[in-house]
Amino acid sequence: MSDKLIATVAEALQVSPGLVQESTAMENTPEWDSLRHFALILAVEEAFDVHFSSDDIPSLTAVAALRAELLRQGRDPGASS
């Protein structure tokens, strides 16, 4: 079963999807550096057709936080990719 959010994050970070988990976050993932973070934000925005505010972008630094925000915006982060 593939999780669309996990797959999107893995692709943006250029790591294998198996290495991305719910607990994956900037603080525990060396590939998730400050610049890659913005590439990731743009990738998630495109994949789910959402828009994150400049207030939220700096704090959406974990898979769980992204998932919560997608749900809040009425998207299905677990949709198969």
């Binding site: 590439a39 495109e46 994150f52 400049s54």
Partner: protein
């Protein structure tokens, strides 16, 4: 497979653009390694001190000058230091001089110089005449210089970045969030469009543009089917949708006049097609401009093979345009080397389709053979001019930046910025100690501590407060401990760290000879800071198994480039 390297040079976070460009290049079958030469590294490159570039020059380098960096500081103050025309000319001379130096040393590199773009939003705000805006005027003068030199010098080409903005609109290509948070003004769509245009440009630079445009006739060059609707029944020109076809033909005729071979490949009676050319004056494409034709009832793929044979051009140089998806698929499956764009479902999309076709397959860079002799003369002249502008050494280059530094000690007005520097500086950071604002307040109020911040500006950019040194005085075994020392990566590569530390140490000692001690604490990204203490004259005292190293300075700081900076202390004349 790799196609050499491509350098992206400019003062924005082009790292975000690199993967988008990679994808666009892949659609042309190109796979260069993309190297980003951003804020700090850009200056190193211009000064000839970028070892990576110097030892293994790339196949091409793309330079994106930013009007904001070039002119904002000089021109938007209440008392501008310089007239806009001069600012534009100087900035161009600086950039073109730097590129000339590198280009003379490494003639194999193709230089793709982008125009600078008038900033959005902000510039031109509330102005009816853009030449009344100093930044817009400077940008236009700058671009005129860049444009002229690209025309003169072989191996350089102009990339008009603003055409992407014109096509999509600045409201679409700009993303304020990315600009403010990530220093990348382009939106995801803006990056994608820019990447497509740049990929097309690079494809042209490496000489892989197509040569032949093979066109179907019915519902492609005109609306309707001539065999059924008759010569007078087809839609062409006039008012209404017929004009979409004449506009498309106009683009085809323009391509032909620039050397593209135009051929027809149509299932029709040859006489019907001849009649359209003869009887319909709206045909912009004249028969004498058609290099070859295959009009009959066989398969399109057979037709294209015969046309390739007639012209003596390989099928991999062909672009085939046909409105019928079945015909496209037949050719695609038989002749995979032929490029076959999707055709617009609505004929109203034809003029834009023609524009895309021109960009994607027939984009042309540089000069024609007729221009070549003239170009050679220009080139010789340009090289002489370049040599006189060349920078003899990296120091000459840095001197030309006219850098000014301001230092400030225990300055509570810099509290937030100082704390932020400790938290955000990951590369040039000696100990990686992070301070919150509250901790910074404590330190600033402690008489044993000395916190010194430095701001740096040069003729182009005010970099703001970019460096911080924190010292604590120890009374027993009297010495100053360098608790932390950091510098923003924006200003790495200017030897500013040495000059700054030297000024700090003079300020601390006030004539005494107290030792300065320091520790280097290795982290994931601060290797760049590791050699610094030794270069500055510190002596290694001991190394720990975890990579920490203790250093001591008893003499003065080695700062060979002290004279590159005009230094002053805040609050002192």
């Amino acid at each position: 497979m790799s196609d050499g390297r491509l350098f992206l040079v400019g003062r924005a976070s082009w790292e975000l653009f690199a993967p988008v460009l990679r994808k666009a290049l892949q659609s042309y079958g190109l796979n260069p390694d993309i190297v980003v030469c951003g804020f700090d590294r850009e200056l190193r490159l211009w000064s000839g001190a970028d070892e990576d570039f110097e030892s293994a020059p790339p196949r091409a380098a793309v330079v994106f000058p930013e009007a904001r960096d070039l002119f904002q500081r000089q021109l938007t103050g209440s008392r501008p230091e310089i007239v806009p025309e001069e600012a534009g000319a100087q900035a161009a001379e600086f950039l073109l001089g730097a590129v000339s130096s590198l280009s003379a040393r490494h003639p194999g590199v193709s230089w793709i110089l982008s125009t600078a773009e008038v900033e959005f939003p902000g510039a031109l705000a509330g102005m009816n005449d853009s030449e009344l805006d100093p930044v817009a005027l400077a940008t236009s003068v700058f671009n005129a210089h860049v444009r002229r030199r690209c025309r003169e010098v072989a191996g350089w080409s102009l990339f008009e970045r603003e055409r992407v903005t014109h096509a999509l609109g600045a409201g679409v290509t700009y993303d304020a969030r990315m600009d403010l948070l990530a220093r990348m003004p382009l939106s995801a769509r803006g990056m994608k469009a820019l990447a497509e245009r740049l990929a097309s440009h690079w494809n042209a630079v490496v000489g892989r543009t197509k040569k032949v445009l093979a066109l179907d006739c019915d519902n492609t060059l005109w609306g309707g089917i001539v065999g059924e609707d008759g010569v007078s029944g087809i839609r062409l020109g006039g008012d209404g949708i017929g004009r979409a076809y004449t506009e498309f033909q106009r683009t085809v005729a323009t391509l032909e006049s620039r050397g593209v071979l135009v051929v027809l490949c149509s299932r029709n009676n040859p006489e019907d097609v001849d009649e359209v050319f003869a009887m319909r004056p709206e045909m912009v494409l004249r028969p004498e401009r058609i290099s070859a034709r295959h009009i009959g009832w066989g398969s399109k793929s057979d037709g294209l093979v015969q046309l390739a044979d007639t012209l003596g051009v390989g099928l991999d140089s062909f672009v085939f345009v046909d409105d019928n998806p079945v015909e496209r698929e037949q050719v695609r499956s038989t002749l995979p080397e032929v490029a076959i764009p999707e055709f617009p479902a609505d004929p109203a999309g034809l003029p834009a389709f023609g524009e895309d076709l021109a960009w994607r397959y027939f984009y042309k860079v540089g000069v024609t053979s007729e221009d070549r002799t003239k170009t050679e003369q220009y080139r010789a002249r340009a090289q002489t001019a370049a040599a006189s502008r060349e920078f003899g050494s990296p120091d000459d280059f840095l001197r030309s930046l006219r850098m000014e530094a301001v230092l400030s000690a225990n300055d509570s007005s810099l509290l937030a910025r100082s704390a932020q520097l400790t938290q955000k500086t990951n590369q040039f950071n000696l100990t990686l100690r992070r301070f919150t604002e509250a901790e910074m307040v404590r330190v600033l109020n402690d008489p044993n501590w000395m916190v010194i911040a430095a701001a740096l500006k040069d003729r182009f950019t005010d970099h703001g407060w970019v460096a911080l040194a924190m010292f604590e005085h120890h009374r027993t075994d009297p010495h100053w401990e360098l608790e932390d020392f950091m510098m923003s990566c924006r200003v790495i590569g200017r030897s500013f760290e040495h000059a700054f530390l030297a000024a700090c140490v003079d300020h601390l000692r006030q004539g005494s000879h107290e030792a300065i001690r320091a520790t280097f604490v290795p982290g994931p990204r601060n290797a760049v800071a590791s050699g610094f203490l030794v270069e500055a004259g510190f002596r290694l005292v001991e190394g720990e198994p975890d990579g920490r190293r203790r250093f001591e300075l008893t003499g003065t700081v080695d700062a060979p480039s002290l004279d590159l900076f005009a230094m002053s202390w805040r609050g002192q004349a």
